[in-house]
């Protein structure tokens, strides 16, 4: 049994003991779940009338519209953040000191500020100076959310890409210059494609963070999925109580499913990248945003180590909010 460094393959006595712990552990977990379910059932949250509300067309439409709005914000913010991230990463690698400093300052500032505060400030700004900015329409919340997400995640993606640049062997760049390639060619033909390729799992994982953070729209009362859910629970009275518990269960499942689908994609890309014999080290998909320096748990000596170390070198690894 080599799966763990911590214990030997259990002998007869250890197996017996583990079996006892297993039974106790299972009972404890089942007990906890049963307790929660019983309590919720006592309060009538599993009554058929309560769950029947999800059969109403307008309830379904509210949830569906919430999902669409969330995905719309995510798609736009995700795309913008990737573009911004690429621009910032290139700007940070620039030879002109002013551009480099500007990009670095932008990245550091927006990475250090909680995303919620950026979004809120943008929202208030749009509301206050709507006419001065030539802003028309009622989309303040939408744009505050999209721009806030794009700016914050763009700063993080820029750092991810920079780690990708660092992972490209120095000799390649030298060889490219020796062949007479221009700086822009080195960037677009050599560094960027390899950086994207090696950091793709990390980039997708950061997109998961973007997706989760769309729920901050709730706080600026923008009608994405969470806000729609809150409105729904707030206005639906069944058997004398608001249907918070069922709505939270349903919406929670939707969020977990969406995020897991995206992180599944990241893991798949990572595995695929490992298999490909391109010589490009592929970063681990596992939570770059929270723990980018951590080595890949499944494969500590795997090909990721190099890219990971490069990622660790960007000393304050991409943080996250939300």
């Amino acid at each position: 049994m080599s799966s763990s460094v911590l214990y030997d393959a259990p002998g007869p006595r250890a197996r017996m003991r583990n079996r006892i712990y297993s039974v106790i552990g299972t009972l404890a977990i089942i007990g906890l779940i049963t307790f929660v379910i019983m309590r919720l059932a006592d309060r009538g949250h599993f009554a058929s009338e309560v769950w029947n509300t999800f059969n109403y067309a307008n309830v379904r439409i509210a949830i569906r519209d919430g999902i669409f709005t969330t995905l719309k914000v995510f798609a736009l913010a995700g795309a913008l953040s990737l573009v911004l991230g690429a621009l910032l990463a290139v700007a940070r690698a620039s030879d002109h000191r002013a551009i480099r400093w500007l990009a670095t300052g932008f990245i550091e500032l927006f990475r250090a500020i909680p995303l919620l505060i950026t979004i809120y400030a943008l929202w208030v700004l749009f509301l206050t100076y709507k006419s001065d900015l030539g802003f028309v329409g009622e989309n303040n919340g939408f744009w505050a959310l999209v721009i806030g997400l794009a700016v914050y995640n763009g700063a993080v993606q820029a750092e991810v890409l920079r780690a990708g640049f660092n992972a490209v062997p120095r000799g390649q760049v030298e060889a490219a210059y020796a062949l007479g390639l221009r700086k822009s060619q080195v960037m677009t033909m050599l560094l960027l494609p390899q950086a994207v390729r090696s950091m793709l799992p990390t980039i997708i994982s950061q997109l998961v963070v973007t997706l989760k953070d769309t729920s901050l729209g709730y706080i600026i009362t923008y009608a994405e999925l969470l806000y729609a859910a809150r409105q729904l629970a707030n206005t639906t009275l069944v058997n004398g109580q608001y249907i918070y518990v069922p709505v939270i269960m349903v919406v929670g499942t939707i969020y977990v499913a969406m995020c897991m689908a995206l992180s599944g994609l990241a893991t798949w890309v990572e595995k695929r990248g490992r298999r490909a014999k391109t010589g490009i080290a592929v970063a681990a998909a596992a939570e770059p945003a929270e723990a980018p320096g951590a080595l890949d748990p499944s494969d500590p000596k795997g090909p990721t180590v190099e890219a990971e170390q490069a990622a660790a070198k960007t000393d304050e690894p991409p943080g996250k909010s939300g």
């Binding site: 460094v5 712990y21 552990g25 951590a294 500590p300 690894p317």
Partner: protein
């Protein structure tokens, strides 16, 4: 500029609120995370499953949804109520613990196999191996990711402000509702967060340096 000077008391209160919430949830998240990591590497399948389920669930749920859950769903299960500050503390620690767990677990996996084998051949038990051999070594690998996790936690605590807990974001919200210029408020609040996050990364850099060993 005047906004800060005229309302320095509120600003200070918000700043202390953020620091206090961050420190308290960091400690709780660290304890929870280490326990969960212990679960995830233990030889007992249900505990491993529990740890994995915990991490998957809380890593893929938006923090705002967790705040909503503890505000509206958890009181349905437990009769005793919590004050908003405690609720925020619980949510932030539970959410962050899943990230701490993963960081600690991957840290444990970077400890060379031979170390643990040597410990076991000396007759150490699971807990002795974990406590005296593996964890102390894992700590060094885990420090950089932990630093970014706690920085993320600081920033996440802003969401608590939106749920009526006294901290920096709440201060900004109240004052901007009173009609103060948002740009200045934004700048001051941002500065407050920058001070905290730079302190955290500085502290961790010190820790890393003091724990550094030749390997």
């Amino acid at each position: 500029m005047n906004v800060l000077l005229d309302h320095f008391a509120e600003f200070r209160e918000g700043f202390i609120g953020t620091v206090w919430l961050t420190v308290a949830s960091s400690v709780l998240a660290l304890i929870l995370g280490v326990v969960l990591a212990g679960f995830r590497v233990s030889p007992v399948p249900p505990l491993r499953f529990f740890g994995a389920a915990w991490v998957t669930l809380f890593r893929n749920t938006p923090l705002t949804l967790l705040f909503l859950t503890i505000w509206f769903a958890v009181p349905q299960v437990f009769d005793f109520g919590f004050d908003p500050w405690t609720k925020a503390l619980i949510v932030l620690s539970v959410y962050t613990s899943s990230f701490v767990c993963e960081a600690v677990r991957s840290g444990i996996n970077t400890v060379p196999l031979g170390q643990a084998e040597a410990a076991r051949s000396l007759g150490m038990t699971f807990f002795q191996t974990l406590g005296t051999i593996v964890l102390p070594q894992a700590v060094r690998t885990v420090l950089p990711p932990l630093s970014s996790i706690f920085i993320a936690l600081t920033k996440n605590s802003a969401i608590a402000g939106a749920f009526s807990v006294t901290e920096l974001f709440g201060w900004q919200k109240v004052l901007s509702d009173q009609g103060f210029a948002i740009a200045w408020l934004f700048l001051w609040v941002a500065l407050g967060y920058l001070v905290i996050t730079f302190t955290i990364s500085g502290l961790f850099r010190l820790l890393e340096r003091s724990l550094e060993v030749a390997r």
